[in-house]
C-alpha cells in the first residue's frame, strides 16, 4: 500500500527539483517593473488604451513605448503610482463617464412595428433601421450592455439602456457598439446632462416620444451665457463650462437631469 505513495512522492520531489533548477539557471528574468505595473492595472482588458489588453499596455509602459494615463478605467491613485514607478509625471486626465442620450422607454416612446428578430441592436438596424419611431432613439435590445466589460449598463424592463456611473469607467466600448450613436462620453465632473439626441422640431418629436427635449430653451435662459447651446430643437451642454445642477429643475420634460441612478445590484444579490 505504501509503495504507490512512495513512488508518487518521489516523482513529485524529482519534478519540483527539476523545475527549480530550470527556473534558477535557464529561466528568463521577468522584469519586476512590468509585474508591479500589471498589478496596478484594472484587469478588465477593455482595450480603451488602444492596446490589446492590460498586459500589453503594461509591457509597453515598462519598455518605455507608451506613457501612463491612457487607461480610461484606472483611478487616479493607481495612475500616480505607475507614474512614480516609471519616474515620469502623468498629465491628469479628466475622468469620463458614459451616458445614453435617450429617455424614450416603452412607456413614453412609440414603436413602428413589432420586432421579432435577432436580439441585438446592430441586427435590428438591418431591418427598417430599427423599429423605434424616433430615429435617434435607443432600440433597447442591449448591445451596449453586452459590450460593457464592467456590467455598468442596465437594460430597464421598459427597454432603455441606463449607465450606472458608479460602475462605469469611461472605456468607450459602448460608444463604439451603439448603432444609433447615442452614447456619449462626458466628464464626470459635469452634474447634469441632456438625455435626448434628436435635433428634430419639438412638435415632430412629441408625436413619437413624450420624453424628448422640446427645445423650449428654458434651461438656456436659466444658465449662464455659453453653458447651454441649441442644436435645432435640442439643448446641448457645453462640457468645457458645465451649468450648475439647479438648472435641471427648469426642464419641463425632465430630460435635463443628473445621471445618478439607483446603484445597481451586484450579481450575487440578484441571484439571491
Amino acid at each position: 500500500m505504501f509503495t504507490p505513495i512512495l513512488i508518487l512522492t518521489a516523482i513529485g520531489l524529482f519534478i519540483a527539483f527539476a523545475v527549480a533548477i530550470i527556473v534558477r539557471y535557464f529561466g528568463m528574468p521577468e522584469d519586476p517593473l512590468k509585474q508591479q505595473i500589471t498589478d496596478l492595472m484594472p484587469g478588465a482588458n477593455c482595450g480603451g488604451c488602444g492596446f490589446a489588453g492590460c498586459g500589453a499596455y503594461a509591457t509597453a509602459m515598462a519598455e518605455g513605448k507608451a506613457k501612463p494615463g491612457k487607461c480610461p478605467s484606472m483611478n487616479s491613485e493607481n495612475a500616480a503610482k505607475i507614474a512614480e514607478l516609471l519616474g515620469v509625471t502623468v498629465e491628469k486626465s479628466e475622468p469620463m463617464v458614459a451616458i445614453v442620450c435617450c429617455s424614450g422607454d416603452d412607456n413614453t416612446a412609440s414603436r413602428n412595428a413589432f420586432y421579432n428578430g435577432v436580439n441585438n441592436c446592430r441586427d435590428a438596424m438591418q431591418i427598417d433601421a430599427g423599429t423605434k419611431s424616433c430615429s435617434y432613439g435607443c432600440l433597447g435590445l442591449g448591445s451596449c450592455a453586452n459590450a460593457c466589460p464592467f456590467h455598468a449598463i442596465e437594460m430597464t424592463p421598459q427597454h432603455l439602456a441606463v449607465v450606472h456611473p458608479e460602475l462605469c469607467t469611461g472605456c468607450g466600448k459602448c460608444v463604439d457598439t451603439c448603432p444609433k450613436n447615442i452614447i456619449k462620453l462626458v466628464p464626470r465632473s459635469a452634474k447634469i446632462h441632456v438625455f435626448c439626441s434628436s435635433p428634430l422640431r419639438g412638435a415632430e418629436k412629441r408625436k413619437v416620444c413624450k420624453s424628448g427635449c422640446i427645445g423650449c430653451q428654458k434651461c438656456k435662459k436659466a444658465a449662464e451665457e455659453g453653458q447651454i447651446e441649441m442644436n435645432g430643437s435640442l439643448a446641448v451642454i457645453n462640457y468645457e463650462n458645465p451649468p450648475a445642477a439647479e438648472i435641471a429643475s427648469q426642464c419641463p420634460t425632465h430630460v435635463l437631469r443628473s445621471n445618478e441612478t439607483t446603484p445597481k445590484k451586484s450579481k450575487e444579490e440578484t441571484n439571491e
Binding site: 421579432n116 428578430g117 435577432v118 441585438n120 441586427d123 427598417d128
Partner: protein, 450 residues
Amino acid sequence: MNKSYQFYGGVHPAQQKLARKSAIAVAPLFPFYTVPLSMHIGAPAKPIVKIGDKVLRGQMIAEAGGFVSAPVHSPTSGTIKDIKPCLGVTGVKTPCFIIESDGEDKEYERMKPFSDWQEADPKKILSRIAEAGVVGMGGAAFPTAVKLSPPPGKKIDTLILNGIECEPCLTDDHRLMLEKAKEILIGIQISARILGVKTIILGIEKNKPDAVEVMTEQAKDLPITVFPLNVRYPQGAEKQLIFALTKRKVPTGGLPMDVGCVVQNVASAFAVYNAVYKGIPLYERVTTITGTPLVSPGNWHLRIGTSFADAIRLAGGVKEDPAKIISGGPMMGFSVYSLEIPITKNSSGILLMSPSEITQFQSKSCIHCGRCNDVCPMQLMPGILSTQIENECFDLSENWNVLNCLDCGCCSYICPAGRPLVQHMRRAKAEIMAKRKEAKKDTPKGKASK
C-alpha cells in the same frame, strides 16, 4: 444542349401561387404617386423638374446620376407637389417626388420607336434603353443598359432569359409570359442583338406548364431554346440558373459575364421591348398582390409610385387583419410596417400573411445537424458562420466567404432550431461592407490600397 443540371442545395417551399389564374388587369388612376429617386443599384437620379412643375406621363423627371444609374419618368400627368424624403421598403427614408394626378393622364411626346431594330445601330438602341430607365426587374434593379454593355475584354456567348419565378406566392412573371409572350421574345432578341449573342435560352420551371407551352409555341421559328427545369428554390438566382442551364460556375466574387453569360428577367425583356419597339419608358410594371387575407388576389399593371395601400385596395381589401405585409416574396422579401411605401421598379409583389401563417421563432442553440450546409446553394456553412457572427468575428466570417451569401434564406427555412441564420449573414455582410467603405475613405487617393 438537351440536358439540365442540378445546382447544389436548395429547398422546396410550399408554392401557394394564389393569383396564377387571374389575368393581368390595368389599375385605375390614383390621386397621388410617390416616385423615389433611387429605385436602382448605383447613384441616385438627379431631379430635373422643380416643385410646382406640370409633368406629363412618361416625361423624364430625373436624369441618371452617373454611369451606373437610371433616369426616372413620371407615371401620370399632374403636378409635382413636393420632393421630400419618404419611407422606402428597407425602412430608410429616401428622396421622392410626390406627384398629384390631374386625372387626364396625358402622354408626353413619345420617343421614336425602333420598329426596324433588326437593322438599327446597336449603340443607339442601347442608349435608348438607358434613356427609358430600364432596370433589372427581378429584384436587384441593376440598370439594364450597363448589364448589356460588358467591358471589351469579356466575351458573351449566351443570353439567358429568366422565367423561373422560384419565389413562392408570386405570379407576375408567369402571367406576363402567358399574356405577352411575343413581346418578351422581341425584347430578348433586341438584347441579344446589342450583345451580339447567338444563343438565347429561356429557363422556365415545370410548375408553369401553360407558360412552357405558350413560350415554346411562340419561339418555334426563333433562335431561342425553351428549357423547362425541375422546381427548386432558388433556381431564379443568376448563378444557380447559369449552372442549371450551362453547367458553368461563376467564380467567387465574379459576375455572370466572367463565364460568358448575361441573365435577363422576363419583365426586363418586356420593358426593353416597350422602350425600343414602342418608345415607352419604364413607369409601369406587373405586380402580384397576393395573400390569404386578401379578398381577390391578382396581378396588376401598376404605375411606379402607387402606394401599398392603394394596391391592396385594388385587390378588394382584406377579409381579416394581416399579421405581416411583405414587399416581394416570402423567402427574400422585406416585411414593412407602413402602407405609404410606393411600388418601385423592382417590386414584384406584395404579400399579406394571416396570423395563422406566421410563426414566431424562438432562436435556440445550434444542434449541429448540418442541414443548412446541405441546402446552401452557395455551399457555405451557415451554422458555423452564424456562431462566428454572434460573437462578432467578422474578419473570420469574411475568410469563410460570407460575402458570397445570396440572402436566399434556405438556411433559415430549413433550420430545426429556428436560428435566424440569414439575418446573421446579412448583418455580417453589412458590417464588412461598411468597414471596407471606411478603409477606402481613409486611404488617400493615388495610393494603392491593400
